[in-house]
């Protein structure tokens, strides 16, 4: 069974994400509420995909993403930034920090499932997910 790590300091965003995955996938869902907890949970839980908010207490999503990429076990785990900060400079920063895709809030549940599903199901994960995300208008890196 695949495991998704949802990271957000907002109860609303976490509940929305959890509900989408629990109702419509067989994924296990693990949550974290700040960047530090996200890194700890990512190392301990070994998720198959990570959805990471940017503006959070203790450690923001950019720092958390960089920190995760320092660990061998997390180098190839798909990280999708999910944030209200859609300005080009923030998107570019997300990719510099090592994310695979960048989605802006408010989240469209169907698009989220589709993009995460592609990351989870394909051998050529990053490439296929990039194509889907682009078709859906999300910012991604090739």
């Amino acid at each position: 069974m695949s495991k998704v790590l949802l990271v957000d300091d907002s109860n609303t965003a976490l509940l929305m994400g959890e509900t989408v995955f629990k109702q419509h996938t067989s994924c296990d869902v693990v949550t974290a509420r700040d960047g530090q907890e996200a890194v700890q949970k990512a190392l301990a839980e070994k998720p198959d995909v990570i959805l990471l908010d940017v503006v959070m207490p203790k450690m923001d999503g950019f720092e958390a993403c960089q920190e995760m990429r320092k660990h061998d076990s997390l180098k190839n785990v798909p990280i999708i930034m999910v944030t209200s900060r859609g300005e080009p400079a923030n998107v570019a920063n997300g990719y510099r920090c090592g994310c695979n895709a960048y989605l802006t809030k408010p989240i469209n549940a169907k698009e989220l499932l589709e993009i995460v599903g592609v990351f989870l199901s394909s051998d050529d994960k990053a490439h296929k997910a990039t194509r889907v995300a682009k078709r859906k208008g999300a910012s991604t890196v090739e």
Binding site: S10, N11, L15, Q23, T104, K105
Partner: protein
């Protein structure tokens, strides 16, 4: 006035729990409308939990920011006797903007009395023009108690949003029926 607007205490909780269960079931049974039902379920659950923890206005901020893409908002209470406006909460709005809103008290009150959700960009009348100039994008009426009514005013949306879609409007309608009673219940402690 709807059932939620009239409900208090335990009956309000029961009503919200029933709504929440219904939305959850719909989210599971209607994959075609997954986004809509998931959002409505999320709103009802967050409001329910916020009411029990006396943090309703903070929950409204979170809902508007995360589900609607609106980070600028104000929650207003208007006394029916005096017409006086009181800001219960505002987020990311300058004092000048709040003063400009306060000057529109009578217009706001007449809009609130209609009791229906108003998406300002849909309208072209004179009153809506005044709201547009203030950057208001939606007015959600809230029934607070017998002596006052209020509204949730939503201002500019995030740059990635071009307006309110069908799901957003259903979320706003749900807030119109549930947020007022929750705030009222919180005010009464």
């Amino acid at each position: 006035m709807n059932k939620a607007a009239q409900a208090t205490g335990h009956s309000l909780l029961a009503l919200m729990e029933a709504d929440s269960a219904r939305f959850r079931q719909q989210a599971a049974e209607c994959p075609a409308d997954l986004g809509l039902w998931t959002k409505l379920y999320t709103v009802s659950q967050i409001m329910l939990s916020a009411m029990q923890q006396s943090r309703v206005s903070s929950a409204l901020e979170e809902i508007c920011s995360n589900l609607l893409g609106c980070e600028q908002l104000a929650i207003i209470d208007i006394s029916r006797r005096t017409g006086r406006i009181q800001f219960l909460k505002s987020q990311q709005l300058s004092s000048e903007k709040l003063m400009a809103v306060a000057e529109q008290g009578p217009v706001l009150e007449s809009q609130i009395q209609r009791g229906t959700l108003q998406v300002i960009s849909d309208k072209r009348d004179e009153e809506s023009g005044k709201f547009s100039q203030l950057g208001i994008t939606a007015l959600v009426p809230l029934w607070l108690d017998d002596e006052s009514s209020g509204c949730l005013l939503l201002f500019s949306l995030l740059p990635q949003r071009s307006g309110y879609d069908i799901e957003d409007r259903e979320v706003l309608r749900l807030l119109a029926t549930h947020a007022g009673p929750c705030l009222r219940s919180e005010k009464r402690g």
